[in-house]
């Protein structure tokens, strides 16, 4: 239960107590099936990263930027003087505090 509360906080998902309790059961069942993996010997096996890729392509340091066909005020929930607005942070010293 504490785990679920912790990950819900990390994921910024509000959960009611009832829902949180149900999620604990659901995740336990799902994770129980995942335990199958612990039986597999993966000593020395590379992790699958960049499947099928031939290295990382790069772009030249030039524009133009990919255009927006409609400006930000067509989709932003709250905009003033070009800034996106959010509720003021109670503590705004460091970026990990939100």
């Amino acid at each position: 239960m504490n785990d679920v509360r912790h990950i819900a906080t990390l994921a910024r998902l509000g959960l009611t107590d009832v829902r949180a309790a149900a999620i604990v059961d659901e995740l336990n069942i799902i994770l129980g099936h995942m335990d199958e993996l612990s039986k597999v010997d993966t000593a020395g096996v590379q992790e699958a990263i960049g499947v099928g890729a031939q290295g990382l392509p790069v772009r030249t340091d030039s524009g133009p930027p990919f255009p927006l066909e409609r400006s930000m005020d067509s989709f932003a929930p709250s905009l003033r003087d070009g800034f996106l607005l959010v509720p003021r942070l109670s503590t705004h010293e460091s970026s990990e505090e939100a």
Partner: protein, 481 residues
């Protein structure tokens, strides 16, 4: 009844025998006829008939001075998680309610450049998380073959749009089988190309290392034509491959004589529904009689695909869906301060399955669990990919399997999440390994369509299409009986 083939429509429009406007009108009429709306099959999340007609009108006016595109005047339905400039792009989620993308996906641009008319945004499981298209903010989509049943998912709306004869081609997206499984359930063709074959730019990410835009076709030719248009390198997607795209329609004339087709035993377990097995056996016999060499093979790590998939995909999803925070676009629900706004927005915007997977993904990446779950899963994923590599290196050209362990199930029949996850048991492997795969109709069981799956090695869609064209031709009407 299916829509007129994309080849005929394109040739007629190009020759001026019919107008693009009339093909669009036919699609609109057909949608009405099959009750595609919210209270009927619920095929679309969004439609805009006026926009479709305007697109068609623009095609007519440019006919004179350009070489006709491969999809000239062909209406194409597009899954609601692919960015279009007209009509919203909402991923079947409340969190994007009303969001209209200010840019368009590369695949959509390519469709338009080829002369296609973007006809509706199709319904889907929210953020492509599901195998039934029941988990959409806009309600479930119904299977046109049996409306009390699911069309499969997550691209169920696109499958239904093709299966009900509204369009001959639709775009879907695949992460673990979301094109092939609904193709199988709806009795149509569904292709998942090689990872990197089609640009993901503008496809709203679910699990980036698995996602790929896929194509539904009423026939193999429709799917091949659609894929030919959208495939190819895109500098906007760093995982897109700079590998030339062959003409997949050429495969229609290729011979399967000499083609080595492997049957992986793990996809034919003793528990497999005997009726489905029988349809597969019949299809294999057709291929054998056409001159293909059939060989029994093994992909030993197949049964690990679901655990691996349901670690890797939610992990990536938990990160990909962090951008839906109410700050820049989409839903915002005010709460207590910034933290409250985040939580109210995300809890209010995401449905239960998406919430479950975000939590699962957050958990498997969190401190203390990463190695046991995520790292382990990515290592086993390598073993699964190695299975395919070995079998293709041994001289097998194409694999054949059932697409799904069942036929379309009744709406509301599966409530246990893990049981739903098992729908992907034969399809998730291709996404994990990045290989191309497609589902083709191989008959019906109890009146419900059954799909057979072909898989090939990386970027060898051509051989896969060769086998699919041959099987379709050989089976004829039997594929839908």
């Amino acid at each position: 009844m299916t829509a007129r083939s994309s080849a005929l429509v394109r040739d007629d429009v190009a020759a001026g025998r019919v107008t693009a406007a009339s093909t669009v009108d036919a699609a609109i009429a057909r949608a009405k006829e099959v009750h595609a709306g919210r209270d009927g099959l619920n095929v679309f999340a969004w439609t805009d008939d006026a926009d479709a007609r305007a697109q068609a009108a623009a095609i007519t006016t440019r006919l004179a001075d350009t070489t006709p595109g491969q999809l000239l005047g062909v209406p194409v339905a597009v899954k609601d998680n692919i960015a279009t400039l007209t009509m919203p792009t909402t991923c079947g989620s409340r969190i994007l309610d009303g969001y209209v993308s200010p840019y368009q996906a590369t695949v959509v641009k390519r469709l338009r450049d080829a002369g296609a008319v973007i006809f509706g945004k199709t319904n889907m499981d929210e953020f492509a998380m599901g195998s039934s298209t029941e988990h959409s903010a806009y309600g479930p989509t119904r299977n046109p073959v049996a409306p009390d049943r699911v069309p499969g998912g997550s691209s169920g709306g696109s499958a239904a749009a093709v299966a009900s004869g509204i369009v001959s081609i639709a775009l879907g997206s695949e992460t673990g089988g979301s094109v092939r499984q609904p193709a199988s359930f709806c009795g149509i063709v569904g292709v998942k190309p090689t990872y990197g074959r089609v640009s993901r730019f503008g496809l709203v990410a679910f699990a980036s290392s698995l996602d790929q835009v896929g194509v539904f076709g009423a026939t193999v030719a429709d799917a091949a034509r659609g894929l030919g248009v959208i495939a190819g390198h895109d500098p906007m997607d760093s995982t897109s491959a700079a590998i030339p795209v062959p003409d997949y329609l050429d495969s229609a004339n290729a011979d399967v004589k000499g083609l080595v087709i492997g049957l992986p035993k793990e996809y034919f377990p003793t528990s497999l529904d005997p009726a489905i097995r029988a349809r597969c056996d019949a299809a294999v016999e057709r291929l054998r009689s056409l001159g293909a060499t059939i060989r029994d093979v093994s992909l030993p790590h197949t049964d690990l695909a679901i655990p691996v998939y349901y670690i890797v995909a939610p992990a990536e999803a938990s990160s990909n869906l962090a951008r839906f925070d109410g700050v820049r676009y989409g839903l915002r629900v005010e709460g207590d301060g910034l933290r409250g706004m985040y939580e109210a927005t995300r809890s209010g915007g995401f449905g239960p399955e998406v919430t479950r997977r975000i939590l699962l993904g957050t958990y498997v990446l969190s401190a203390g669990y990463y190695d046991a779950y995520y790292r382990k899963a990515q290592q086993v994923r390598t073993l699964i990919a190695d299975d395919f590599r070995r079998v293709f290196e041994s001289g097998v050209h194409v694999l054949f399997t059932p697409t799904a362990p069942t036929t379309a199930f009744p709406i509301g029949a599966i409530s246990d999440p893990y049981e739903m996850y098992l729908s992907d048991i034969f399809t998730a492997t291709a996404n994990l390994a990045g290989v191309p795969a497609m589902s083709v109709p191989i008959g019906r069981v109890g009146g419900l369509p059954v799909g057979g799956q072909f898989l090939a090695s990386h970027f060898d869609e051509t051989r896969m299409f060769t086998a699919a064209f041959a099987l379709e031709r050989a089976m004829g009407a039997e594929a839908h009986a």
